[in-house]
């Protein structure tokens, strides 16, 4: 057991999350992942009467089933299909800056919540196997520099010296000292606990099934029918992550999000081999040795779908392919045993930009949904809360974050 674990708080009691729904609330937050719990926290702290519901338990989907990495360097899934970042500079710059802003929030979060969240700044390598991939590393480094992200490209003997765990025949790797991770199993529960202490009502096993829009009638703009009864709300924030599109449909909105199951492998504990995260610029790999000394190996390998409440199954092919990339990059993993796999359902927005803010089509209806949401959500939720609290200087989100963008494009 790690030392941090001993300092963990007493989590919310069952009785704290299982009482009846209030008859009305100012703001109803739908979804108990990192986005919903952090938003509930920031709103409650700002004095808003907020109720947060989840159809199941807290933190059971992407927020608790990702690997907890902070991705600061531009990664393979952000790059245009051609592989070179040259064609998409503006978007990539914006994403890079956003990642940095998100990390600043994370870095202060242990203190803000007064709970050890396992935030560690470990640095991260992004490896290239071929000369062509090495070229991409050089190109993306220039972009990252413009955005204020520190990276360097390292090759040859220096790489072998600084990262002796990497295979000696790699073409090179870029290093970013700003990358790291937090414990995804604790972050959302920590937010929920503090939100509750600030007066937020947290309810689990409440499935939002219908939303009636009542215009400006007294009592609340929305009448929300749930598996646990009705609740009136003036404002709704859709934090349903991978299921955000299903939720938005209840008010007639079309959100540009879809979901995908991603496979992750976990090994037995081994002696400390490495601290930094390792990614690959040309193949799907994210790998780190956790603070529990297990290796967590993922990076975007798919799993089949299954409807809730079933969990997405894992996939042998993904395990085999994913670990093949891992052992190619870190040969010492060959005799390390995989003891467990899991599958997380991750949200992808159409253009990888977050969907955050208030809808113009349905006033009062908000959303806070992002791909790589573990990294981004605390920052996005804090900014959204500031806007909802009408704080002076609350910075508006850029237009491409708008949640009506899919509707605007289809002309409806």
């Amino acid at each position: 057991m790690s030392g941090e674990d001993r300092l963990l708080p007493q989590w919310l009691r069952y009785e704290d999350t299982s009482g009846p729904l209030p008859a009305r609330t100012d703001t109803l937050v739908i979804g108990g992942g990192i986005a919903g719990t952090s938003l509930a926290y920031y709103l409650a702290k700002g004095g808003v009467d907020v109720t947060m519901v989840d159809r199941g338990e807290l933190n059971r989907e992407a927020s608790g089933t990702n690997a907890g990495s902070f991705h600061i360097q531009l990664a393979i899934h952000q790059l245009p299909a051609a592989g070179s970042p040259a064609g998409d500079v503006e978007r990539l710059l914006q994403e890079a800056r956003q990642n940095l802003a998100a990390y600043e929030v994370w870095n202060a979060l242990d203190t803000e919540l007064d709970i050890p969240l396992g935030v560690h700044l470990t640095g991260g390598w992004m490896v290239a196997e071929t000369e062509q991939q090495l070229q991409v590393l050089h190109e993306k480094r220039e972009l990252e520099q413009q955005a204020g992200i520190v990276t360097e490209v390292v090759t040859g003997a220096e790489l072998r010296k600084r990262a002796p765990f990497l295979a000696p025949d790699l073409a090179g790797a870029s290093y970013c000292p700003q990358e790291g991770h937090a414990n995804p199993l604790i972050a959302a529960p920590a937010y929920a606990l503090r939100a509750h202490e600030h007066g937020a009502t947290i309810r689990t096993h409440v499935d939002v099934q219908e939303i009636e829009q009542r215009g400006d009638r007294a009592g609340g703009r929305f009448l929300v029918r749930t598996s646990a009864g009705e609740i009136l709300a003036d404002r709704i924030v859709n934090c349903a992550g991978a299921w955000a599109a299903d939720q938005a449909r209840l008010v007639g909105l079309k959100l540009p999000v879809r979901r995908e199951g991603l496979h992750v492998n976990v090994t037995e504990r081994r002696g400390r081999l490495m601290d930094p995260m390792v990614q690959h610029i040309g193949r799907r790999l994210t790998l780190k040795q956790s603070s529990d000394d297990t290796f967590i190996i993922g990076g975007g390998w798919p799993t089949p779908a299954a409807p809730p409440p079933r969990r997405y199954p894992t996939a042998w092919e993904s395990a085999a392919g994913n670990t093949a990339v891992a052992v190619r990059v870190i040969p010492a993993l060959a005799d390390v045993r995989v003891v467990r796999t899991w599958s997380g359902v991750i949200v992808f927005t159409d253009d990888l930009s977050p969907v955050v803010g208030e809808s113009q089509l349905v006033p009062g209806y908000h959303a806070c949904v992002a791909s790589t949401g573990f990294t981004l959500s605390p920052m996005l939720a804090r900014r959204l809360a500031e806007q909802m609290l009408d704080r002076d200087g609350a910075e508006p989100f850029p237009p491409d974050h708008h949640l009506d963008r899919a509707a605007a494009r289809t002309g409806s």
Partner: protein, 500 residues
């Protein structure tokens, strides 16, 4: 994807698996029998390990002979026998096999995918894990562990052995130990002493089970003759020692196996054997998607099956103790029924013939079952068995999670997956095989729910740890893997993903 195909893949080389493989192979089907250990026989018919030669089979006892004849039949059949091989995952009509020869590097034993038309899962059972203070001390062994040492390795792990347990093994096993020359200093049975009524019930249920009755009497007589103190209605409360067990404390229990205050006694010992019955090893069955019910008398979570022992997954059969602990006789009968059922499904037999062939096995099973039910009063597991852990007792030994940490977390949830996420209990190499029932019972107690209503954690492959060198495959992936699989047969259309 793979050229290795079987009509029937049988997983588990114990009595049920041996019988299933033999029965299916008898009808001309292409059969493979997979066993993770180096020898066939399973736990009950465990064979001496490599390098040990049996010169005088008659001296080995009836159990050895029964096991040997099942093994001989399977080996004489056309079934391909794959020992030292683990099934670590099942996905639809494929299973992933990993060879586990410890003398060769993992990369030299790559995992392979084999296809099956039907699979018979006969995973057997394992000792019911019971967490009490000191249960993780060296020298505290499960009945199964002791048995393996003795049957496969011919090793007695200490001079003085205390045995605590319940059910038929609580008597049979210490008697066996005596036969191997062990010094059993005391035997504690959590259940009540037999009453004349029990003997009558057993006798009434026992036509054809006479030898079992004889065994029970023989075990008891052996213990009495050797003056081994045999005490009923007592359980082990804690084990203590410096670096290994040196003494055990036991106490009287009531009907629910709850401790009667003021009845504690302490005695010195070298080895504490613990055998509070068995629980079905349902990991592979759950991974295959088979639905389970709950029946404490059969060991807890048990898989649901039809007359031919098909599970709720139509291509998956299940037989033996892994489906509910009823012993080797029922396991053999079930193995035959499942083997015949698979042959029926695959058209190797017509329905009438299958029924006729399976009838004797069904009768054998029913007869043995009547006996089990008659003995039930003596075998019921009391809920008090789960209350022995004190706050600092480690419940999840892979991840060193204490009862206190679990209790605090269970205050917030009824969901075992959430408890797992917040405490790491069940995340280690055993994947919760050891601690999960204890955690479930803690949830049930805190939230006043029946134990059977607490769902187990999501099953995940691999069911046994697999070295990356064996698992990794550079050749998977390509184009098809990354195309979204909208044709997932398990999922109703429309449930898959959004239309985006």
């Amino acid at each position: 994807m793979t050229d290795e195909r079987y009509d029937v893949l049988v997983v588990g080389g114990g009595p049920a698996g041996l019988a299933a493989a033999t029965a299916a192979a008898d009808h001309g089907l292409r059969v493979a029998l997979v066993e993770e250990r180096v020898t066939l026989g399973g736990q009950v018919y465990k064979q001496p390990g490599p390098g040990i030669v049996v010169r005088d089979p008659a001296a080995m006892g009836r159990e050895y002979a029964e096991g040997r004849s099942l093994i001989d039949a399977a080996e004489a059949s056309t079934a391909t026998i794959l020992t030292n091989t683990q099934v670590v995952a099942i996905e639809r009509d494929t299973a992933v096999l990993v060879e586990s020869d410890p003398t060769r590097p993992a990369a030299a034993q790559p995992a392979r995918i084999v296809c099956f038309a039907r699979i018979v899962l006969a995973p057997g059972a394992h000792d019911r894990p019971v967490a009490f203070p000191g249960w993780t001390l060296p020298g505290v062994l499960t009945a199964g562990g002791l048995q393996t040492l003795i049957k496969a390795q011919r090793v007695l792990p200490g001079r003085r052995i205390t045995f605590a347990g319940a059910g038929p093994l609580a008597l049979a096993f210490p008697a066996q130990l005596l036969g191997y020359g062990a010094n059993v200093t005391s035997v504690l049975e959590a259940g009540p002493p037999p009453r004349p009524g029990d003997v009558l019930r057993i006798a009434g249920a026992a036509p054809g089970n006479r030898h079992l009755l004889q065994d029970a009497i023989r075990y008891r007589t052996t213990l009495l003759r050797r003056r081994v103190p045999l005490r009923y209605r007592r359980i082990v409360v804690r084990a203590e020692g410096d670096g290994r067990v040196e003494q055990v404390t036991h106490a009287a229990v009531d009907r629910d196996w709850r401790i009667v205050p003021g009845t504690e006694q302490t005695e010195p010992t070298d080895v504490l054997g613990v055998g509070y019955g068995f629980v079905p090893s349902v990991e592979l069955l759950r991974l295959a998607g088979c639905e389970t019910d709950f029946d404490e008398d059969l060991g807890g979570y048990v898989v649901r099956r039809d007359d031919w022992l098909r599970t709720t997954r139509p291509t998956v059969f299940a037989a033996g103790d892994g489906t509910g602990v009823e012993g080797s006789q029922v396991a053999v009968a079930e193995g035959r029924i499942a083997g015949i059922g698979a042959a029926l499904d695959l058209g190797a037999l017509d329905a009438a013939t299958a029924r006729r062939l399976a009838a004797p096995s069904r009768r054998q099973r029913d007869r043995r079952r009547a006996m089990t039910r008659a003995l039930r009063r003596m075998h019921d597991v009391g809920p008090g068995i789960f209350d022995l852990a004190t706050p600092d007792t480690v419940v999840c030994r892979c991840e060193s999670v204490t009862a206190q940490r679990l209790s605090e977390t269970i205050d917030g949830t009824r969901d075992i997956n959430v408890v797992k996420a917040l405490t790491r209990a069940g995340m280690g190499p055993c994947q919760g095989r050891t601690c999960q029932r204890q955690v479930a019972s803690m949830i049930a107690a805190r939230h006043e729910q029946p134990l059977g209503s607490i769902a187990l954690a999501t099953p995940r492959m691999p069911v046994r740890p697999v070295a990356i060198g064996a698992l990794a495959d550079e050749h998977v992936g390509g184009k098809t893997l990354f195309v979204r699989q909208d044709d997932d047969a398990d999922v109703p259309a429309g449930e898959l993903t959004d239309e985006w």
